[in-house]
Symmetry: C2
Amino acid sequence: MPDVMRRAEVIELRPERAEEYRALHRAVWPDVLACLTRNNVTNYSIFERDGMLFSYLEYTGDDYARDASRIAADPVTREWWTLTDPCQRPVASARAGETWAPLVEVFHLD
Amino acid sequence: MPDVMRRAEVIELRPERAEEYRALHRAVWPDVLACLTRNNVTNYSIFERDGMLFSYLEYTGDDYARDASRIAADPVTREWWTLTDPCQRPVASARAGETWAPLVEVFHLD
């Protein structure tokens, strides 16, 4: 059984764009979802509270950096991001150039 | 196939107790884990960043409120919480009496 990599990330949701963000995510473009699936992203959720977005996903491939690059190069995904990026703002502690910022796993129970 | 309920929650990690919290979670008591499993909690992770703890779990039973009450009534779990509670502080927006505060799911891809 291949190991599953769990990844959690956080970003801020701009209050004035919050409803727009929610509406976009009630109808994510099928090609955006297909690109994620094709690149071994599964069980992917985004949660919201207090102006923060928290994402959780599982990666079932063998090279996350490669597949993340493929997702970032996908034309439909890039177009989708032109809609979602303006709704978000990196957390204060994000590194330069980072959008969603990763958390560290401190506990897991299968 | 039973529906899986996903639940994400947030709480603050007290900076002066952060290392203690991490150490506790590197060796969670087996009876605490067994109680979670017995009560239909699975794929449970806790992540940390910037003094915040985010949890993600999946619930495979048919009555989350009942099973959450059973977990909260378990003597070993209650003893465990006497160690972990002092490391945590509810977020400012938590309701009265709430410890971990739930997020709202805005997106999911299986």
